[in-house]
Symmetry: C2
Subunit: 458 residues, 2 copies
């Protein structure tokens, strides 16, 4: 769906070179703006901007909003600064702030003074909110009404505002000092059309679910999902209403957070660009950092093994079980880390639950480890005597299976406690990701394994 | 947010025992239904059902919809069958089908005949759609209008339907045979209120983005997110309109899919229940399956190593690098698998891109492997001679670093191609998860390592 749709491209170019205004106007309005934008992805920035001239302003801004961010930046660099500054004024407040984040600061400094004062102030205010907070995601345009309005007045007012607002389906009731008093939905208004003189005061819901401007966007997404909202108002400490976050931005947040979490689990830095479009060196840098870090940490296994030199030389078969022990710790650890990280993200587990989680995972680690230990024990007993090259397969079996069980418990506990610990010290629990936990458990797994082997076999 | 809120519980129980109807009615309507449901989580099923009697029907059904599914099932088992069958008729069509999936078949068979015929038919039809398809997620209640209606007539009609519909913000225009002709938004209606005699025919958008009833729910979510929709219509092959999927269900799908993907990456079966609420044995079963499978697969490393018995006995130091080689394959493999799985999920990579991905990852694997190989080479040269216990650290360094590079390439290629291959044969690419890829690469990593060591050192 994000791939350039090239089927229509020759026709589009022909229309442009013929200057066929009527067909170009038709092209800009016939489809959903997102589809129009898809069709235009194959055009150059300059061509795209020329096509957009044939759309009336609200539609032009909408189609532009669906172009890829790289293309948007290219277009901004093109034309006349004053023209672009004016155009930016028509974009939704949250989108234009995102866009200006991607533009080089020099260009922003040229554009800002050319914008109308109100838009400029709005941009500067939104830019000041830290990334990933409600303030940074919200838009400042929303439908508002006084509590003294009647249903009729409100509907008329809405009809006037409808074109400029991202959503008119929730109408917020504010007092003169912009405090959020309540909410009426368009559904309530339509239901109340039979009594057009009803005051908003008597219709509005007063218990409005809202978020604070400093709240994390994940918290915002959770609230919108929990309450099945179309939009959520953003307020400050004094409950002044500052903006709204709409359902479509919430879906974007959920997808973005899921992608980031997945990257962390896979052991790489989050990427914002599309996989095939990203420059090779950028992707390499995002991947090599974690890989090298994990590799260097893993070098500790070398030192650990070297300290058991004598054991390995005496009983070579001990070395054969190293991968098994290591992977047991890694797999049980990343499983537990995934489970707890996800439970934290979904709000199912809180910091104060750590003792319950610990007890739960201790038992679980033992129950899982018992299963794996049994498999290991059977495997040793089934292995031909000459391959083991030792007198007492029973002792080896006991040593390996006990080591596997203990490593599994250790992996499970590490994997479950690390995300909670990270959350506690203010680090994203997602960083307690599979490769991170696995590497940590690898080294300790070797120590556990050889310590137990020493007891049983020497 | 999903934790039982127990603060209000004693008051609530007192109201019940006092039979304080006025306060209980107030409790049921004062808050958002989701909050009311949160407050009720601490009650027994029987108490909850008694409290719900004090809410009028639409609100009762709404609060019920926000209770946890286990609690909903408990309540259904409680009361009089006829009463429950009637109540189920008031639940949103998509929710009640989900709910009946969780109830034992015997009870469903008792409830169904007691329902009104229309509701029963609707339930049976929705139940027939395969899980995770648009048909299974959609609701069959939506606002509909004829193209001959005027704006005024439509608004009046909406006012009548508003209470029963999940969303009235998109109104679908159908012909007499239920074909989807177009869409008007409540926004358009409100804007057109000044010209109340405008026909819907002249107002509606005809290019309506829709999904097919058999489409996967992930595809639905992608479309809704791409087009920033409030709801998407579900049609059959002949473009008969069957239902809609609303934005809140799409958010649930996105969260559900992200959670499932995360579980797959962490090597466990997807869980639908909340972590701390799930029975121990259920969780154990979901976890032990994958862990045992991975463990048994990992036993192959034992066989692989045993076949290099002589090498290990002659040069014990070779064994020290086993964890390093294994983890290199595992980390590079799971990184690539994560990246490609996510790119597929986001629609950035298609099956026909496989050759581009292969070329990309081949180069990337070499570039990443070169970095890791260099670290390994330096590490060997820096290790004290007596620890290595061999004459030529240069040869060992070359062997280890070349093995690390090759294993990294191998891991990257396996990790990137497996999700595409899985997708090709119709298996969820998410199953090409970190632990799966890691285990696969572990065994081959050992073979690569010892093969190269043989060349350099024997």
């Amino acid at each position: 769906m994000n791939l350039p749709n090239t089927l229509y491209l020759p026709e589009l170019r022909e229309m442009l070179s013929d200057g066929n205004a009527e067909e170009l106007r038709e092209f800009c309005t016939a489809l959903h703006p997102a589809s129009t934008a898809d069709f235009m992805e194959g055009l150059s920035a300059e061509e795209a901007w020329r096509v957009l001239q044939f759309a009336e302003m609200p539609v032009r801004a909408e189609i532009f909003g669906y172009l890829s961010q790289e293309r948007q930046v290219e277009i901004l660099k093109l034309g006349d600064r004053a023209e672009m500054a004016q155009f930016i004024g028509h974009l939704p407040p949250d989108d234009r702030v995102d866009l200006l984040h991607e533009v080089e600061p020099g260009l922003v400094d040229q554009l800002l003074p050319l914008m109308p004062a109100a838009e400029r102030r709005d941009i500067l205010r939104l830019r000041a909110f830290p990334e990933n907070t409600a303030g940074a995601v919200m838009t400042t345009e929303f439908a508002r009404v006084s509590e003294n309005f009647t249903v009729r007045q409100t509907l008329e007012e809405l009809g006037r505002q409808a074109e400029d607002l991202e959503t008119i389906y929730y109408i917020y009731v504010l007092d003169d000092e912009e405090h959020l008093l309540g909410l009426v939905s368009a559904r309530q208004l339509v239901s109340a059309m039979g009594k057009p003189d009803t005051r908003i005061r008597d219709l509005m819901e007063q218990n409005v679910v809202s978020v604070n401007v400093g709240d994390d966007q994940e918290e915002v997404a959770r609230k919108v999902a929990h309450f099945d909202l179309l939009a959520i108002p953003v307020v400050d400490q004094a409950r002044h209403m500052l903006g709204i976050i709409t359902h479509d931005d919430v879906i974007d947040v959920v997808v973005e957070e899921a992608t980031e979490d997945a990257y962390k689990m896979g052991g790489m830095m989050p990427m914002e660009e599309s996989y095939l479009d990203s420059p090779f060196v950028t992707v390499w840098r995002k991947r090599v950092g974690w890989l090298s870090l994990l590799f260097v940490a893993e070098l500790l296994t070398f030192t650990a093994l070297a300290s058991y030199e004598e054991s390995i030389k005496t009983i070579a078969v001990l070395a054969y079980f190293i991968p098994l022990c290591i992977s047991t710790g890694g797999n049980s650890g990343s499983q537990a880390a995934t489970l707890i990280t996800r439970a934290i993200a979904l709000g199912q587990v809180n910091l104060r639950d750590w003792a319950r989680v610990f007890a739960h995972e201790l038992l679980m680690g033992l129950a899982l480890g018992a299963a794996l230990g049994t498999i290991a024990f059977v495997q040793v007993l089934l292995t031909p005597q000459d391959m083991l090259d030792m007198a007492s397969p029973w002792r080896l079996g006991l040593a390996v299976s006990q080591a596997v069980t203990l490593i599994c418990v250790w992996g499970t506990l590490t994997g479950s406690m690390l995300p909670i610990f990270f959350k506690r010290i203010g680090v994203d629990p997602g960083f307690a990701s599979s490769p991170f936990v696995a590497t940590l458990v690898d080294v300790t797994g070797i120590l556990i394994y050889f310590s137990i082997a020493q007891i049983y076999l020497f």
